[in-house]
């Protein structure tokens, strides 16, 4: 049975919302060191993982469930939750922190329930019992340190860049050389230019806290999936790191501090290839589900 109380509801709520952009369901994976939430989309082109260390919570307790028939103690398997059932709990993140005094999550594997309990003002208690499915673990392996291109910047800058694109913009292209960085609307060969408005933003490398371009590259990825991470990064006030390579190889957006780490790994399109890419992330020999 695992019990946690949050330090920051707003951050946790934003993490749920960010993951919701990837898929309808997510993996709830508590371990001794903390709680991991993971998600992958149906086409396997986007993967998100948010890990809250035990310090993120006022109280975190994750006990191993010993199985008498196993040779060794084993933590309970991760479980899968339908995100739509969790979203209402954290619907209005801004309002949450004002009204909710305490929030706790507990699991009882025997009942196949995860219980979210919000203790609100005026003695109101909201309890959500959500069923989960047991499932195989989900993990992407992506060697960030092997990426030749690394950018690090405060989320505010990325948000200021994204605001120039319409909310309906699906994909954007990030193009880098050692001299400049450019975000632009993605166009393909058969784009009808007479009907499409194209936007391009040019930035100087000086605007970034860290700028390393080992190889000139132009990668196209899904903007919609990224917006959630930007909101989370803003709420947590943690800068965003971008690791990427040539087109076709995945791009990783991540944030990291003492309390939480989040990684959003997105597939990128490659112009050279004729077929639309749905590539496995680099260095991921095993399939998503084992």
């Amino acid at each position: 049975c695992i019990v946690q109380c949050f330090l920051s509801l707003a951050v946790f709520g934003r993490a749920i919302h960010a993951i919701a952009r990837i898929s309808d369901e997510f993996w709830f994976d508590p371990i001794e060191k903390g709680l991991a939430l993971r998600s992958v989309n149906s086409s396997r082109s986007a993967y998100a993982c948010v890990f809250f260390s035990s310090m993120f919570f006022q109280h975190y307790c994750c006990t191993a469930v010993s199985q008498p028939c196993q040779k060794e103690k084993q933590l309970s398997l991760p479980c899968k939750l339908i995100i739509k059932s969790v979203l209402p709990v954290f619907r209005c993140v801004n309002v949450l922190e004002r009204n909710v005094e305490k929030c706790s999550i507990s699991t009882s594997p025997s009942e196949h329930h995860i219980t979210f309990q919000l203790l609100c003002r005026h003695g109101v208690v909201k309890t959500y019992n959500l069923t989960f499915q047991e499932c195989d673990p989900l993990q992407a392996v992506f060697a960030k340190h092997m990426c030749p291109n690394v950018l690090k910047v405060h989320s505010r800058l990325l948000a200021d860049v994204m605001i120039h694109f319409p909310t309906s913009q699906e994909e954007i292209t990030l193009s880098v050389t050692p001299m400049k960085v450019c975000f632009k609307s993605y166009t393909e060969e058969d784009t009808d230019f007479s009907r499409t408005m194209l936007t391009e933003i040019q930035l100087s490398p000086e605007e970034f806290d860290y700028f390393q371009v080992g190889v000139d590259s132009e990668v196209t990825f899904c903007l919609k999936e990224l917006r959630g991470l930007l909101a989370l990064s803003e709420a947590a006030s943690v800068p965003v790191s971008v690791h990427f390579d040539r087109c076709g190889r995945p791009i990783a957006f991540s944030i990291e501090d003492l309390l939480l780490e989040a990684s959003f790994i997105l597939a990128t399109l490659c112009e050279a290839e004729k077929e639309a890419a749905s590539p496995e992330p680099a260095c991921c020999p095993q399939p998503w589900d084992r």
């Binding site: 499409t196 408005m197 936007t199 391009e200 040019q202 930035l203």
Partner: protein
Amino acid sequence: MRFRAKIVDLACLNHFSRDIISTIAKLAKTCILRLTLSKLYFILSDKVANGGASMWCELSQGNFFDEFQMEGVAAEHNEIYLEFVPENLWRALKTAQSAKAVKIKLTNKHCPCLRVAVELPSVSSSSRIVTHDIPVGVIPRRMWNDFREPSVPDFDVSIYLPVLKTMKSVVERMKNLSNFIVIEANLSGEMNLKIEADLVSVTTHFKDLGNPPWASEDGCQSSAQGRDLESMAEACIDIKKLQQLLAGQQVNPTKALCNIVHKRIVHFILLHEEVSLQYFIPAIA
């Protein structure tokens, strides 16, 4: 054909985007931009696709642009007519609120475009540049006659509009009850807005609005002269069109009036210091 313009003054930029372009974007999905040496015109002609409504908006470029250069199709026809989606221009300018400069240029990369380049301040020594390519259609010379300035109709009543904010909130509530609204007014400064639904009919009365004096051009009698002061001229129009017109008005115009041709058309004229907007809504048969 060439066109290049630049706005450096933030107040002019905000006035242009927030008050003019955003209004045009609410009234027309696509419209014509006519460029001359001294003026810009936004024109919506009364085709069936627009529901018969038409628009003529005119402004002097000198009031907004710090630089403005234009070369039309030919020396004797030194004008450019472009068809474009005003919502695109609104989007491009919307996020330029803190810009150091905005440049607009007519280009032809993949197709004719208005390229809007916004120079934004940044922490580094070089500015951030945001470029938007807005596709446009060049209107050939032979079609220019379709977009002439509409003449003021031979109206029955001309009257100043009530305070637009009040009129807007009245019309917005009425929109929930009916698709059509009747505007009626007389030469005694009285105007009524009426709607009729199955269960209810609502009328809002305005008084003491005043009637603008129109000098008759060639001394002959217009329909308005010699007319009974109390008699109402009315037109039943699409309420959504009226609501769109009012919704776009952020700032109170210097003058706002409408001319009603009984059961035919309502002609709205909104005059601001630097821009004039005329909007024609035909009456529903």
